[in-house]
Symmetry: C2
Subunit: 391 residues, 2 copies
């Protein structure tokens, strides 16, 4: 069966061009870049090239780039570094809609002597900026706000937020895992001190992340060990994956236009047609400021998991929330924070597209989805035909 993969906010296909560049660094040029011999040294040169490519997509300098093992490690490293560098400050600000990497770490800190403010969002997933500003204090060690939400696709005004926070002398971190490659990012135009990336969300490999650390930012390493990454992250460099994320960043820059034209057009078609063909559907997220590849749609009075299972039979791969929170029967914390009604949150499906999706695939989903929803609603005890048109 053909796979129609519209779950690109969960993970992406490694671009063939990326994998091609990685291949020689497994069994052929496998040296340790820290070694004294040429065989290892040559690998070090490739790592420098990758670092430059990552720096370029961010508008950063290569020495501001630290390779980590994933976005989660980058988030942890950033937040803990800010806390360790400001031992007198016991307040952290983040949002109610962060990825578990930041949300669960925030909850951990709140149980361990810190006051943690979780800034709320509105029905479209937009941040309550006044609430954020009102809560900045001299005790605030760090503000960590994602650049774009993985579920709703809503984009936060990071340029503005980071500048204001920075003016107050507070460290600003952003999890840009979902934003990179989908919208333009230039840290030099922001007040961002630290920024997290993940390889596997932009057609690079899994198991590799990046932490951008602005020059001059107080830092202490999280994974302590060897001298790697200029003493900022121990452990033998994940050579092939570093080369992979470098190439993925290069490709992402080339494809940024396509994301915002072709991919956006496909997303818009999918969304428009679903809303047109299926009653009682609601878009979760901000239509004005939203990732071009993402739509989260609530199908009222149906279970999201049932929709996923029935789509799966046609090879359609989507998700009901973050892959990192799946397995739980609770509706997503993001949709709850947005105030999506219970009956709609439970039936919300996220479609997240990529440059590999075709118009034929979108047409296939548009064709298959209405009867799925209709069948599920017929089985639902909460569904009543009269509901239609009454909202």
């Amino acid at each position: 069966m053909n796979v129609i993969y519209v779950d690109n906010n969960a993970t992406t296909r490694v671009a063939p061009e990326v994998f091609d560049e990685m291949i020689p660094y497994f069994s052929e040029f496998y040296g340790n870049p820290s070694s004294m011999h040429t065989f290892g040294g040559n690998v070090g040169r490739k790592i420098r090239e990758a670092r430059e490519k990552v720096a370029t997509i961010l508008g950063a300098a290569p020495e501001e780039i630290v390779f980590t093992s994933c976005g989660t490690e980058s988030d942890s490293t950033a937040i803990r570094a800010a806390v360790l560098s400001n031992p007198d400050k016991k307040h952290i600000i983040t949002t109610r809609v962060e990825h578990p990497a930041v949300k669960n770490l925030g909850e951990y800190f709140s149980k361990n002597g810190f006051r943690v403010t979780f800034v709320p969002v509105d029905r479209k997933g937009r941040l309550d900026i006044d609430y954020l500003y009102e809560n900045l204090t001299d005790d605030t060690a760090i503000v960590s706000i994602m650049w774009a939400n993985n579920e709703s696709g809503t984009i936060f005004p990071i340029e503005e937020l980071s500048k204001t926070v920075k003016e107050r002398g507070i460290v600003f971190h952003t999890d840009a895992v979902q934003a990179i490659g989908k919208i333009p990012i230039d840290v030099s135009k922001t007040g961002v001190d630290m920024l997290s990336l993940s390889g596997h969300k932009l057609h690079g490999p899994k198991g590799i992340g990046v932490l951008y650390i602005r020059k001059g930012t107080k830092f202490s390493p999280y994974i302590i060990g060897g001298h790697q990454e200029s003493g900022r992250r121990g452990g033998t460099e994940n050579v092939a994956s570093i080369i992979g994320i470098g190439k993925a960043c290069e490709l992402a820059m080339e494809h940024l236009g396509k994301e915002n034209t072709r991919v956006k057009k496909l997303r818009d078609k999918l969304e428009t047609e679903i809303l047109k063909r299926i009653p009682n559907t609601i878009i979760n997220g901000d239509p004005e400021n939203r990732l071009p590849n993402t739509t989260s749609i609530a199908f009222e009075y149906v279970e999201g998991e049932s929709i996923l299972l029935m789509m799966d039979e046609f090879g359609i791969c989507a998700s009901s929330g973050s892959a990192c929170t799946s397995g739980s029967l609770e509706p997503s914390h993001v949709l709850r924070a947005m105030g999506v009604p219970f009956t709609a949150a439970h039936g919300s499906i996220r479609f997240s597209l990529s440059i590999y999706n075709t118009e034929e695939e979108i047409d296939f989903i548009i064709e298959k989805l209405p009867p799925i929803i209709e069948r599920l609603r017929e089985m639902s005890p909460f569904w009543d035909d009269k509901v239609i048109g009454n909202r």
Copy 2:
């Protein structure tokens, strides 16, 4: 130029059989194992298989295996988990010859409110076991001792040590990164509570590690985030590399005999011939209890880095110490701890073989090395012909 790679304690070639198993999981079956759809779920099944393979080589249960990003992360996770789980205990015991992953973390703790005991070793790199036992106190949170040393190859009696430490109710961790695949390991016969592995030291990929956590061991995650690894390590699973380390463990079990016959024989030949042909050479390490692939040889009155550079011209890749401490002009902390005289420590070279080395390669090194040492000694201000035979 042909590469003669005898630096396998720094990193290893990914076995072609390992890479073959990884290939489909980059661009073809790239789903997120946490996803609800079959495309992701199938990947989850492969991860379970890999977990079983890793468990098998250790004599552990699959649920005792946690995948991390590297040996360094595993070490950090283990030691910090023990410290967090025993908040009243402020004493850590380790050795003077650990890998930087443990050594530097120990130094970090010693500056942050902990007393850290570094157990000394003798001239052959053997642990002062009485010193270790005398220093166990009710305040000791964890004892972390490597299974085999990466530079000298000396093997520590982990079965005995771990049982004695465990009888005292103290957590025992071992960094087995260099031991696995070279000597038999069966945690069920030990008192080891936690054990670290690294993929790239046993012909698996870089960027993947394992932490074995014995059932019932108090644990708290180090990388906090999603629900992955049963809540013990956040971050999207590094699928291809997990599959890779699983296959590498399977192969390592098959090759264990070869390591201890063919590889050992080649190592012994290299060592014997170098000692025979080159005067003023000393073996660093314990000839009785030593990894079968490793020899560290001190060439008195020469600089190790010069030897490496001249060998490099013939494509011979070896090292002067740990790759993770290279770049420093200081002689290795391991050789210093062993009391290797300054003039010998500076000229020490580690040769570490693998199943991919051939007898022809060993013969080539035996042929090329004597004139290199002779030439360097002629240039050395410390060298005097009369030294020969006077020791």
